[in-house]
């Protein structure tokens, strides 16, 4: 029903909110106040000359307070405790990040000689050493996940090798299911686990299916067993993140840099909140991660940082354009368009056009949030903090059976859902309202889940033994192989045999 008091925007143009002008006062650069502006960043005008140091300044401000290890005392110069790993996807953001990090921290020989003249203490002074001893750029190729996708590894290699002294590291998404890669990063190879994604408890069994021996097959089974188009990009994102973190740890890197810019950070924050990831909203911006996969009690802490998080998509585009950077680009995942991630992207990018401050408001607001309750270890799949009482919350807010007063006895089969965060459970179990072409086959788990599960069940001497026993009791799927003699065999089929 039409209201008398509120305007009707379709009939009455006065009822619309007035669009703010693109820039505040004048068309001159707000910094030098001399040149005509070349770019408007959230209503402020900058010229090309002032734009370049503006961006490098933002990177340094974002990164440098996290470079030194706190234990290193009152050191006044920057020195990281380990190496550097940069995640490179081939997209605009990572192309810009690579260029900016190289310019700021790895100047060319000529440039460094020029700088050396003005350096205090000479080139040999520890202050003037490289911040990170070794720098690697890691590219994760995702083309095996879907048919007809291009392998861009060589293109990525060509881009990275232009930046001396960066070393190129090539990974593939299927490595997350590959024991060889797992052994390379220091893990102990296991037989592999699968879950039944059709049951909300996500019962675990051992991987027996020989058709899933190949990591690519495992990856594809994993993705095709996911219930919604939303779950696929979320799962790939999680796998890439973990592949990079384990690689960072195994290359003795103290820092892992990702090219999330302000726009994509806001998108991932809203998308993560919309997928139930409120508890770990802080980790979307930055995280401190370590994993004791070797079980030795010592593990390197990797700091995952996003140095572009104060720089919007538009600024990244201008940087790439003015510096003539070649962006190799990425293929879109098939079906992802209908997912929550893509919907959020469309929403935020559209909103940014009319309300340019929205993206920074989202990022700043989320930066003020902390988890409300305590954590209970980490999720065995995404390795982020596990909120206490997730299953209880789910049970409390919705009645799922008419006999809620007497809950059914817990199954003795090991269930994965107790060891997963809310987001991961949702990714694996929440269905679409439409019927999607998902496979009902088992869902193979990434290689790190099995060792993590062993840590999560401390009372058991061996998770494998415990699981096999539980499965046997429950008439589960563990098969025992033994040679059956001829008489026993005959006895089993006697009913079907004709008399001789």
């Amino acid at each position: 029903m039409a209201s008398e008091s509120c305007g009707n925007p379709t009939a009455d143009t006065d009822a619309r909110m007035i669009r703010r002008p693109k820039f505040d006062r004048s068309k001159f650069c707000v910094k030098c106040k001399e040149n005509t502006g070349n770019i408007v960043i959230r209503h402020a005008v900058y010229c090309k000359n002032c734009f370049m140091p503006l961006l490098t300044g933002k990177i340094r401000r974002c990164l440098e307070s996290f470079i030194n290890d706190k234990k290193s005392g009152r050191r006044t110069y920057l020195k990281a405790s380990g190496n550097l790993l940069i995640g490179f996807s081939g997209g605009l953001g990572s192309t810009v990040l690579l260029d900016l990090i190289h310019r700021i921290y790895f100047p060319s020989k000529m440039e460094s000689e020029r700088r050396a003249e003005s350096l205090k203490g000479g080139t040999a002074h520890p202050r003037n050493e490289m911040i990170w001893q070794e720098t690697r750029v890691c590219y994760v190729e995702v083309c095996s996940a879907f048919p007809n996708m291009n392998d861009r590894t060589e293109e990525a290699r060509a881009v990275v090798l232009k930046y001396e002294p960066f070393e190129f590291v090539s990974l593939r998404l299927e490595d997350a299911f590959d024991n060889k890669w797992w052994a390379k990063v220091g893990g102990k190879p296991g037989q592999g686990l699968v879950i039944d994604p059709t049951n909300e408890a996500l019962y675990i069994s051992k991987l027996e299916d020989t058709s899933l021996a190949d990591p690519v097959q495992r990856l594809r089974s994993y993705l095709s067993a996911l219930p919604t188009p939303t779950a696929i990009p979320s799962a790939i994102r999680m796998l890439v993140r973990l592949l990079l973190l384990f690689t960072a740890q195994s290359t003795n890197s103290s820092h892992l840099l990702l090219a999330t810019n302000l726009t994509s950070l806001s998108i991932s924050l809203i998308s993560s909140i919309s997928q139930g990831g409120g508890f770990t909203v802080k980790e979307e911006a930055q995280e401190k991660w370590s994993s004791d996969i070797a079980g030795e009690g010592t593990s390197r802490t990797v700091r995952l940082l996003r140095p572009l998080q104060d720089i919007g998509l538009k600024e990244c585009s201008f940087w790439a354009w003015w510096n003539e950077l070649h962006v190799i680009g990425r293929d879109k995942y098939p079906g992802a368009k209908q997912g929550i991630g893509a919907l959020t992207r469309d929403f935020i990018v559209g909103l940014e056009r009319d309300y340019p401050s929205t993206v920074s408001t989202i990022a700043r607001t989320c930066g003020k949030l902390v988890p409300k309750a305590g954590a209970n270890g980490t999720c065995v799949l995404c390795d982020r903090s596990l909120q206490i009482g997730v299953q209880e919350w789910k049970a409390r807010i919705s009645i799922r059976s008419l006999s809620d007063s007497t809950p059914p006895p817990a199954s003795s089969r090991p269930s994965l859902s107790d060891h997963l965060c809310y987001s991961c459970v949702t990714t694996l179990t929440s269905r679409s309202s439409k019927v999607t072409a998902r496979s009902d086959g088992p869902l193979p788990l990434p290689v790190w889940v099995q060792p993590y599960l062993k840590h999560s069940i401390p009372s058991e001497d061996s998770f494998d033994v415990a699981m096999e026993e539980e499965l046997k009791e429950a008439g589960g799927e563990i098969w025992e192989r033994r040679k059956v003699d001829e008489s026993e065999m005959k006895g089993k089929i006697s009913d079907f045999l004709l008399e001789e």
Partner: protein, 328 residues
């Protein structure tokens, strides 16, 4: 495809799929789970004590009508011992509120509950129609929102109730979580969960021609998310309950005080309603909205002594301060 039977009773034909659980259930089971979930929220969160007086914020819309019905049903079924009242706010919008107030009056008869209708005119001396005639159509939502929030609290104080309950549903809560993040409204973000349980956050979802384009975008977005994955609404609520504003940030926020003019809770010397009302009364309505207009009004000197103001606010205690319409 053969009709599926209800997954709960396994007898009747399923007629709907619950987004929250993905289960297909029948009508009877839907009523059962709906009512029992509301009952569980009330008992597990210890919302009420026996003998409490509870006002139901009634707009005449579906949500508040359902709330009134369910609360009355549960109060009788589980013997909560609550005294229930209906509280309606009349903004004074000709041709808009009239029908819905008629619905509320019918609810009063059907559910046998006392009703109090509190009008902006009675409380502030201004109807929304009069406000719009002075401020125009652009900023009137600010007036309406601020005045409604305070009117509900004042109505509750007049009825001497211990609680106000409103019919905000899961979609409203999820929308509020998203809106507060997008607008950077830290103070509200902290209250959101509280509102979920206590149902105390008020905003209008009814004014369909509201020029609040921003909220409109958020609502469309939320609907798209729900279509992509029906659990999105409940997933956003879960997120909203999992975080809070850090202590460090909270300590920099303004402490809550009481309005020096009307005694209502406020972050400044004057509450927002008094500021807006003063602007209206002095013919400078935009002073409550822009800094420039506020400074201009301040330059014209202090408020005159004969300024009409909102009656002094007192927290509920003792007997109801107003006559309540009882169902005949």
């Amino acid at each position: 495809m053969a009709p599926r039977s209800c997954v709960l009773c396994e007898k009747s034909k399923a007629i709907l799929k619950r987004p929250k659980t993905g289960q297909q259930i029948c009508k009877e089971c839907f009523f059962y789970v709906f009512e029992t979930e509301v009952h569980n929220t009330i008992t597990q969160s210890k919302l009420f004590s026996p003998g409490d007086r509870v006002a139901i914020g009634a707009s005449g819309g579906k949500d508040s009508t359902v709330l009134a019905y369910v609360l009355k049903t549960l109060n009788e079924r589980y013997k909560y011992g609550l005294n229930l009242f209906l509280l309606s706010i009349d903004e004074g919008i000709t041709g808009y509120r009239d029908d819905s107030l008629e619905t509320v009056k019918r609810n009063q008869q059907q559910y046998d509950m006392p009703l109090k209708i509190l009008s902006y005119d009675e409380l502030y001396g201004w109807t929304m129609d009069a406000i719009v005639s002075q401020v125009g159509r652009k900023n009137n939502c600010t007036f309406c929102g601020v005045f409604r929030r305070q009117a509900l609290d004042r109505g509750a104080a007049m009825l001497n109730v211990d609680h106000i309950v409103t019919g905000h549903n899961a979609d409203d809560i999820a929308e509020t979580v998203l809106m507060n993040i997008m607008r950077g409204d830290i103070a509200r973000l902290g209250r959101c969960t509280y509102a979920y349980f206590k149902k105390l956050d008020y905003f209008s979802t009814e004014c369909i021609y509201s020029p609040d384009a921003y909220r409109g975008h958020a609502r469309t977005f939320l609907k798209d998310l729900e279509a992509a994955r029906p659990s999105a609404i409940i997933d956003i609520i879960h997120s909203g309950e999992a975080f809070e504003v850090s202590e460090e940030v909270k300590s920099t926020q303004k402490a809550q005080q009481t309005c020096k003019r009307c005694g209502y809770m406020s972050s400044n010397d004057l509450c927002k309603a008094c500021t807006l009302l003063e602007g209206l009364e002095r013919g400078m309505a935009s002073s409550g909205i822009t800094d420039r207009a506020r400074k201009k009004m301040e330059a014209e000197g202090p408020a005159p002594d004969n300024l009409r103001t909102i009656p002094f606010f007192r927290l509920p205690s003792g007997q109801p301060a107003v006559a309540i319409e009882s169902p005949s």
